[in-house]
């Protein structure tokens, strides 16, 4: 299945679901008791309504567009060449998922472990995820490790010592 072809349809459905969810959630808000106030529901309901309508329009227009392309004969040669050029989904998106997971772990560790240790570890691992495949040899690893530690310590001392920003110190406290 070519996800790209159904992209607008998917976006429309996600937004429609989101608008409905947003509308329903708005009822959890306690009512404003201020006299003469239109209340805290008005704007959220307006937003939900407009975005619900817009997503229906998007769904309709992308459905019509899909019908049109399906009616026309496909040009198989071109799309085949495209798929051949595409990287497999795994190679392509694995680093993205890895980065999100790494950031999650980094932020989670920020307070208990402390800014310096968490940042140095994050940087080292992120360099390894981001770097092109041909730049991960031992020499590069050494450079990454050094850069990570120097950057984490430098940033920490700049803010903590010069500006009294209370960054979490964690284990080094």
């Amino acid at each position: 299945m070519n996800v790209h072809r159904y992209r607008d349809l998917i976006v429309g459905v996600i937004f429609l679901t989101g608008s409905i969810g947003y509308y329903l959630l708005s009822f959890q808000t306690p009512k404003s008791e201020i006299p003469g106030d239109i209340g805290n529901y008005f704007i959220p309901h307006l937003i939900a309504l407009v975005s619900g309508l817009l997503s229906l329009m998007l769904i309709a227009s992308s459905y019509l567009a899909l019908r049109q392309t399906e009616a026309k004969p496909q040009k198989p040669a071109e799309s085949d060449a495209d798929t051949a050029k595409e990287l497999s989904a795994k190679t392509r998106y694995l680093p993205v998922v890895g980065t999100v997971a790494l950031l999650f772990a980094y932020i989670y560790a920020l307070e208990p472990v402390g800014f310096i240790l968490a940042s140095a570890t994050y940087l080292f691992l992120q360099f390894n995820i981001s770097a092109p495949a041909d730049r991960r040899d031992a020499k590069a690893q050494f450079r990454y490790a050094l850069t990570s530690i120097v950057a984490a310590i430098a940033i920490n001392s700049f803010f903590v010592n010069i500006f009294d920003v209370m960054l979490p110190q964690g284990l080094l406290d």
């Binding site: 008791e33 201020i34 006299p35 003469g36 009294d164 209370m166």
Partner: protein, 321 residues
């Protein structure tokens, strides 16, 4: 057997050492920088008076007292951080009765009594009512007469759930009058609103607005203290003008999380007493138009209890209508 005694006695020793370490820790307080949490953004009266206090307090404490602005959610963010703190007194809250109003407006599930009270540092009793000089209202009597004649006509600038909101409620209920309460936002937004004339009345502290009186833009209808405040000595009270209306001052105090050792609070009490008595601190505070006002933690607690009772009654009475 002997081994066991040895083990037991060494354990006991360890326990003893641990316990003495704890007391030593409290006695040695502070061993590192202390965060003075200010639940609003940088630049306002609360922030500036906290900074002034911190500057003088750190000389006595021997460790830096760092101002950390944790703003958002009308102060709930900052107070929550201190309430949940387990550092034994390295996060201290500096705030005023906004702590009570966030509870009454249901923003926070707790009030001042969820904290161990610390000493009171400063106050500003110069709460007054301002009108535009273009208005026909010149005295507090004019104001009351006019609102009685036309209930709900006069537009009063306020911020719903803020301290000035309760001040207007009290005036309405005691005098049997009714304003059209308009939410306009904080202090400077209130000044803009009154200058541009889309509201008729503004409750505000004296300091910071006195130049608008001198310039002829505003008229101040008196101050709401029982006696004239030192930072507004030239302004008559409402009582002097024959109207029995008073309103409690802004009171800035320290608050600690429930598990803070008493020794730590005692230390701050001592520091606050010394700092507020020092001429250098008093001189710095004068520039901010805020009065140093030391009260013991017990007195501070009592003052807050009184304010909470008053504010609760005011909003209950208001809800009846």
């Amino acid at each position: 057997m002997q081994k066991k005694t040895l083990l037991l006695s060494s354990l006991a020793l360890l326990g003893l050492a641990f316990q003495s370490m704890l007391t030593v820790q409290a006695a040695d307080y502070p061993t590192k920088a202390i965060e003075l949490i200010v639940p609003v953004g940088a630049g306002g009266g609360t922030d500036l008076s906290a900074r002034t206090f911190a500057k003088h307090a750190q000389k006595l404490l021997g460790k830096p007292v760092v101002i950390v602005n944790i703003n958002g959610a009308a102060g709930y963010n900052g107070s929550r951080t201190v309430r949940e703190d387990k550092s034994d007194g390295y996060k201290v809250l500096y705030t005023h009765q906004g702590l009570i109003t966030t509870y009454l407006t249901k923003v926070a599930p707790y009030s001042y009594d969820a904290f161990k009270p610390g000493p009171m540092i400063a106050e500003d009793p110069s709460m007054g009512l301002f009108v535009s000089s273009k208005s026909s209202i010149k005295t507090i009597q004019d104001l009351i007469a006019k609102t009685k004649a036309e209930p709900g006509r006069l537009k009063a600038a306020t911020e719903f759930g803020g301290v000035t909101y309760f001040m207007l409620l009290k005036l309405q209920q005691e005098q049997g009058i009714k304003f059209n309460l308009i939410d306009v936002g904080g202090d400077s937004a209130k000044v803009t609103a009154l200058l541009s004339g889309f509201v008729d009345l503004m409750p505000r502290v004296y300091f910071g607005a006195q130049d608008y009186i001198k310039s002829g833009d505003f008229v101040l209808l008196g101050q709401a203290g029982a006696t004239r405040a030192n930072n507004a000595a030239e302004v008559p009270t409402y009582k002097e003008q024959g109207v029995d209306f008073t309103f409690p001052a802004y009171k800035w105090s320290l608050f600690f999380s429930e598990n803070t050792p008493q020794e730590v609070i005692n230390r701050w009490d001592e520091v606050a007493r010394t700092v507020t008595a020092s001429p250098a601190f008093q001189k710095d505070m004068q520039k901010l138009g805020i009065l140093p006002a030391y009260h013991t933690p017990e007195q501070a607690k009592a003052a807050y209890a009184e304010i909470q009772t008053l504010f609760t009654e005011l909003s209950a009475e208001d809800a009846k209508k």
